[in-house]
Symmetry: C2
Subunit: 327 residues, 2 copies
Amino acid sequence: MSTVVPALEAVVEAAGPRVRDLMETLERRLLELVSGHGELLARHAGATIAAGGKRLRPLTVFVAGGEATDSQGLVRAGAAVELVHSATLVHDDVLDAADLRRGRPTVVATGGRELAIATGDLLFSRAFAELSGNRDAGQLRVLSAASSALARGELLQRADAFDATISVERYLLRCELKTARLFEAACRLGARQAPGDGEGVARALGRFGRSIGLAFQVLDDVLDVSGPAARTGKRRGTDLLDGTVTLPLILARERDPALARLDTRSLIGGADAERVCDAIEATGALEQARARALEIVATAKADLPALDQRRAGALRLIADGVVERYG
Amino acid sequence: MSTVVPALEAVVEAAGPRVRDLMETLERRLLELVSGHGELLARHAGATIAAGGKRLRPLTVFVAGGEATDSQGLVRAGAAVELVHSATLVHDDVLDAADLRRGRPTVVATGGRELAIATGDLLFSRAFAELSGNRDAGQLRVLSAASSALARGELLQRADAFDATISVERYLLRCELKTARLFEAACRLGARQAPGDGEGVARALGRFGRSIGLAFQVLDDVLDVSGPAARTGKRRGTDLLDGTVTLPLILARERDPALARLDTRSLIGGADAERVCDAIEATGALEQARARALEIVATAKADLPALDQRRAGALRLIADGVVERYG
């Protein structure tokens, strides 16, 4: 199936033909959603949605949904989660464009910025409109909580910009808000539609989602330092230049006094950033951060509640997929 | 009551003590909402919410709600509508800041822009989270439709920027999306909670809301040209410099060949814009646009469905309040 990347093909395979059908229906629905609201949305959001790639979050909804029989309900939830994710990407692009002055290669015209804000707002709105089709206010509560967390994570990131003295706990809180809570929502939205799941199972699946989301963000932050650029599509050290202090730097500062003294505001371009990435790597902080993420994933897998074998197997493969992508 | 501006005090008076209580509860709830989600939200959104002023949209929810007995449900709906409105204001500020190059006096630091995007996103998310407390997916459908319309209106405005050849119909469509649909939602959210209202009444109240919202935007656009600046808090002709082509210019171009030839991209500052405002005013286009708005309001009042006298009276006073503010 063309829309599923190789790392996740194993998940779809394990989850069975129904999930494959759901993934295909999701693609059609996302296309409908971006083409059905005016030419402008299609032009600006279409590219983001089309380039969206992995569809890891909707896939998580579908797998967590188990034997749910309302395919349309699952697809709406999957689309809603993907729309919130896309809205965040579109708004992140605006913030990145604002960083041009820091030597970054992104170029967005002013018109682009204005359109990006409105496009992101529209994607957010469409997410809630789509999910409201399920006529379950509880699902909307789950999504709005995750969406609030995302924005709080962004605010926290701005508040902590260039502050290398932040604690590991504060860093993990930011990851939880920015990334983990939407994965938690994906699991809960699926579980809520699964027949026979009690609130206990839904909560446990929510915790699982939160853990793999957390690991996802930590590994993403490792990759920003480790590169290679050919794999990530951006230069190493982008976070350093942005002022986004992540786990590798936090850990490396404990081991390398020069890094502990470094003010990342003084970095003026990609070459500077790459030198700092090398210094971070030399401390062993990348292995340490990676190990932390792997431990989170292993614990999440071990703590999965009692589920039928197909569903549990597919969820474990999602967890592996998160790791494998960065392995 | 300190939170109600004089023009709307008559509405509260006519609507009775219950609506006055609701307005007071709303203020407390809004304060809770912005202070309950981290210091950053309080700092950045608090100012917007606090300066929010009229609370015309929540007041519309409460009056449309008639004898609804679930005060908490009405307050949630009122707060949600106000949060969506505030989110839009916060994101508008970002766009305005991008227009500094056009000689506008707005100054927002780069950090301000990044925070504003995340703050707006958080206000949007909180709006849906707040409304989901009413456990009625239908209400969330109404709000998400309005919120989508708002974003589409922004996109349309950017697409039509500096295009003075747009039709009156296209201009009115933009006003409907940007402004009228949220007033429609306010009416529908209230009506949905009113006991004994059939779907017919809810639809009719929705149309009423849409009409007064449309008039509100047209009158706002007239005010941008007419000033005085002391009243609007901004220089005359701000829309002209932004490239936002509004009804006064569209109508004036039919009467003044010099205006018909004008490319507003060539305006380079406030003094230029004021001269164009004077030229528009000299054609009589402002009176014409104002008359159009008054006609929309008069029709909306005449078309109100059969309602008890107190509710109908208060709704008519809201319509008058929209006009009076700009009269």
